[in-house]
Amino acid sequence: MASVNSPVTGDTRPYNRVRDWVAVVTAILARGIVGTILGLFFWAAIPAVIGWVPTTVMTGSMMPKIVPGDVVISMPVGKEYLRAGQVILFQNPDKPSEDRLHRLRKILDNGELKTRGDANKTADSTPADPDKVKGVALLRVPWAGLPNLWIAEHKFGYLILSAALLAGLLPLCNIDAYLRRGARVVRKTSRTGGAHSVESEVR
């Protein structure tokens, strides 16, 4: 062939099979990572559409099953469906401005709920009001609440670092674009055919 360019890519750089492979694998990996991160945020947010309640876990009181930085999604249920053993989200009786996500250990005779964090040595001293239960935990989205947690704990270094890493991955997501762009040009020119195709590839 007279052309030094890739006959199929239409790229102006010399044809290089290794480079093509590196580009396509890098792009797929980068898209996979970025997409999975965005997907986690998606799954953390979308249940709110049907009225489920997402909460960011801020403390380790439910370790090791639920760790700080998780988003836990609770489904609202009537209090007659509450059972010992469930992880429930309820208004913190010790601090009404906050919610608490602990395991329901026992429904007391007066109807109040005895709760406890799995990692805590003792049960919560203040029982919970069954009317203040916001839901039963159903889904856990790992890591999706980390930005919230970092902001609350003023760990802005982590926040900036993660944002920078994510931003750095974005250009890699499309690093194989030249492969597709070239093909499109080739397809167009191949349909029209003739001597113009090489020119249009080089351009």
Binding site: W21, L38, W43, M63, V72, D124, P142, R180, V186
Partner: protein, 210 residues
């Protein structure tokens, strides 16, 4: 070989690239969905608990120096009997917290606890083992009075963290200790109906991070 036939043939990286760009969004949703469902299954499928380990990333931790023995074990009390005892509570957590004091399992016979007056003061110095009553105790300069009233009232008023008596707020930046001085006095006007009555009450300090 014509140029057109060259152009029609795509290299494998090209084909993968074209395929991969359309696959990216559904694949990401599926992968993240699998992560979510696996994490949810692991977290909520079982109701077993982990009672003893303390995994807290940040923690609030309290300890006292009573070696699990009772503050008072007084018998043959009569109207006017009094005694003081100190207990040191130490906060070793690394989060700022709020410490509250409340009573557990109050019990009495012949309404005796209504005739035991209790004063709780917070400060520094002394220790549980101090031989003479609270030797070396210094009341705090502010908010030293935690409670003044009957034993019965303490047991019924302060039953858990949300209604507990305010004590102190450790900063979490270093180990902090507070001494609590408990003084009881049997009411001089205790009626005869309370003779040979008994009273007991547990005291619990609880810290919650704020």
């Amino acid at each position: 070989m014509s140029k057109a036939s060259h152009a029609a043939r795509k290299s494998r990286p090209q084909r993968i690239s074209r395929f991969g760009v359309w696959l990216a969004v559904p694949a990401a949703l599926v992968v993240s969905g699998v992560v979510v469902s696996a994490a949810s299954y692991a977290s909520f499928s079982s109701s077993t608990t982990n009672p003893t380990s303390n995994w807290n990333a940040g923690s609030v931790t309290l300890a006292d120096d009573d070696s699990n023995s009772a503050l008072f074990n007084a018998s043959a009390l009569k109207p006017g009997s009094t005694d003081s005892k100190c207990i040191v509570v130490t906060s070793t957590g690394n989060l700022p917290s709020n410490v509250k004091l409340y009573g557990t399992t109050p019990a009495t016979t012949k309404a005796f606890s209504s005739y035991v007056n209790l004063t709780i003061t917070q400060g520094t110095g002394s220790s549980f083992g101090s031989s003479t009553a609270c030797n070396g105790f210094t009341p705090a300069t502010t908010n030293s009075n935690v409670y003044t009233g009957t034993l019965a009232n303490f047991g019924s008023t302060y039953t858990n963290f949300s209604n507990g008596a305010d004590t102190w707020t450790p900063t979490g930046s270093a180990t902090e200790a507070r001494t609590y001085k408990f003084t009881y006095t049997v009411d001089p006007n205790t009626p005869n109906t309370s003779q040979s009555g008994t009273a007991s009450l547990g005291f619990t300090w609880e810290a919650q991070n704020n």
